[in-house]
Amino acid sequence: MIEIRFHGRGGQGAVTSAEMMALAAIAKGKYAQAMPAFGAERRGAPVLAFTRIDDEFIDVRQEILEPDVVAVLDPTLLAGIPVAAGLKPGGVIIINTHKNPSEIKKQLDLPTDARIAIVDATAIARETIGRPITNTTMLGALLKATGVMKPNDLVEPLKKRFGKIAPRNIDAMNRAYKETKITKGAS
Amino acid sequence: MAQSDKPRWQELEIGCIVTDPGSTRYYKTGDWASMVPVTDPERCARCGLCWVFCPDMARIRDQRTGAFDVNEFYCKGCGICARECPTNAITMQEVTD
């Protein structure tokens, strides 16, 4: 089972990212689960969302404390939120940032042999979608960093969810898939 | 104590519905009356106002004469008919056994 935790701010679409991953996995015949952390938070507040993907029926319904993958949709979260908390050894953290990996590494408390994937999702989203909404862009980075599915697998769920603006979101995902850089994390 | 004249639980309708419409017609409210209206058929104008104003449907019209009189099975003896009768044809009298 792969467990993914998304960090974002209310309104940035972290929940949508989690849902798109689950829907794509289910469409491929896998078992998957997506859920938000059920807070009372409103637009702008830090939020969490979770996705589980497995080949077998998923029993657990708890939130994810020890993720295999963490995706951070908003670079400003790094300052206040321990986004890497519980990240499994060998896990991967994907961060939307224009900074370079060594700068980012200093801000994070990473387990041994964790990997860092970085992508300037905000820039890509701005250029491709026209708005700094990074949820679909970050999906590209997530796919690149984990290999759990191919960008093509997300096309149908994205089309269904985004309708007319789906092509731009798919472009953003594909571009992020290409531009994501993965490095080893803590030594 | 068993109440043998009442239905047993097995005999109740689904959801205690009542399937006989208007079945209170079997219930004698005439017992309540301490007064009873007595109508003078000579003075009765056959207007039917007593029938209109009776809360208990206790005014009946004589098919032959058209005059109105009391149905003692239902009449509770309120006296509205006597008070409303435009020709003062009705008087209230005490019920005697």
Binding site: F38, A40, D59, Q62 | K6, I17
Partner: protein, 391 residues
């Protein structure tokens, strides 16, 4: 054929309501039930569901309108949660004695105060004695299936009782997961059109909901009690038929690894999944732990529970509600009374978990199993314990 899709559990529920071809929906929005009524509104707006949707001004009116609609012979649906269930509670009790086969999905949520939008079983437990048949489901699939099952049971002429499908707020309602949708065509004659036994109809007038004097009230309640117990046979029959048709087999009490278990965790609703994962883990570690999931809460499956739980040494009952100043959790007190007077009862420990959506982890269930085994060694029976409490 059934179609396997990923969807939010609230939508899987709404799909089933649509496929049941309900005639009237009457509901008032409340978190975490909102996605259900939003989806159903859209279905009606799109013409996918030919029903009257009464957007009432309160849950009290929601249930009252359901009573009117059901009495007029309509297949009727509503959904609520928490404060909403409490507000309509007066009418919830009336619907059952009037034998109106309304189906209601309750997105279980805690009761104020303090105000909480998050899930537990306080709402349904406060309506425990309302005379409704009560199912508890634990996955999107069982939610979807139990809408069909609920209508089939409720409308059976031998039953005619309102039926509640309890699904945990957020932990089920807001989760996306795979569901095999039963399409209308697959449903076949599993759910025949509703043929009302009693109906408000000018061609055959009946009086419904008359005043009951002391001379008949007791008989009316006895009749209600008997029909509620008798519904169990029909529920089993419907589950069996459902299993044959759709391959998913449901029972009043479902078991995992209970045969040789020394410790059995008892759970109800959405947290059963996490409990099952915990039991799997403990089994791998060689611990003789099993799990019982109670799917049917009313009529209460006391006999099934006695049979299944008797061989174990320790039972750990998990409640998501407290009976203040009473015996702890309502589920546990029912299980204890199911055993009272029977010889060879196991030790029964009670744990309060997941109040107002408090996370319950696999490790919590491991702790519950361990703790129950410690408690059995104590001389005095222990009162309930609250899991995850800061003290």
């Amino acid at each position: 054929m059934t179609r396997r899709v990923g969807m939010e559990v609230s939508f899987a529920l709404s799909e089933a309501v649509k496929n049941c071809n309900v005639d009237v929906i009457s509901a008032y929005p409340i978190t975490p039930q909102t996605h259900i009524v939003e989806e159903l509104s859209q279905m009606v707006a799109d013409g996918d569901l030919d029903a009257e949707f009464i957007m009432v001004e309160s849950e009290h009116s929601a249930m009252a309108a359901c009573c009117g609609a059901s009495a007029a012979g309509a297949r009727t649906f509503t959904s609520t949660a928490s404060q909403g269930l409490q507000l309509m509670s007066e009418i919830v009790f009336i619907a059952s004695n009037m034998r109106l086969p309304i189906v209601m999905a309750v997105a279980n949520r805690s009761l104020s105060a303090p105000l909480s939008i998050w899930g537990d079983h306080s709402d349904v437990m406060a309506n425990r004695d309302s005379g409704w048949i009560m199912f508890f489901v634990e996955s999107g699939q069982s939610v979807h299936d139990h809408v069909y099952i609920a209508y089939r049971v409720a409308e059976d002429s031998r039953v005619l009782l309102p039926t509640m499908v309890n699904l945990d707020g957020f932990q089920l309602t807001h989760v996306i997961e795979p569901v095999e949708l039963i399409e209308k065509a697959d449903l076949g004659d599993f759910l025949p059109p509703y043929d009302p036994q009693i109906q408000l109809n000018p061609l055959k007038p009946v009086t419904m909901g008359p005043a009951g004097t002391p001379a008949m009230f007791t008989e009316a309640k006895k009749a209600q009690e008997v029909v509620t117990w008798n519904s169990r046979a029909i529920i089993d029959e419907v589950w069996e038929d459902f299993g044959k048709r759709f391959g998913r087999h449901y029972k009043a009490v479902e078991t995992f690894h209970t045969d040789d278990a020394e410790t059995i965790i008892v759970s109800m609703g959405g947290l059963s999944g996490t409990a099952r994962a915990a039991v799997d883990k403990m089994r791998k570690e060689g611990k003789k732990v099993g799990l019982v999931r109670i799917r049917l809460f009313r009529p209460f499956p006391a006999e099934d529970l006695r049979r299944i739980l008797s061989p174990a040494k320790v039972i750990a009952v998990c409640d998501r509600a407290i009976s203040y100043g009473g015996p702890g959790g309502p589920l546990c007190s029912e299980i204890k009374s199911a055993f009272f007077g029977y010889s060879g009862a196991p030790y029964i420990a009670n744990f309060i978990i997941g109040l107002a959506g408090r996370n319950v982890w696999v490790t919590d269930f491991e702790h519950i199993a361990d703790r129950a085994q410690q408690l059995v060694l104590q001389e005095e029976p222990a009162p309930y314990e609250i899991i995850g409490l800061r003290e």
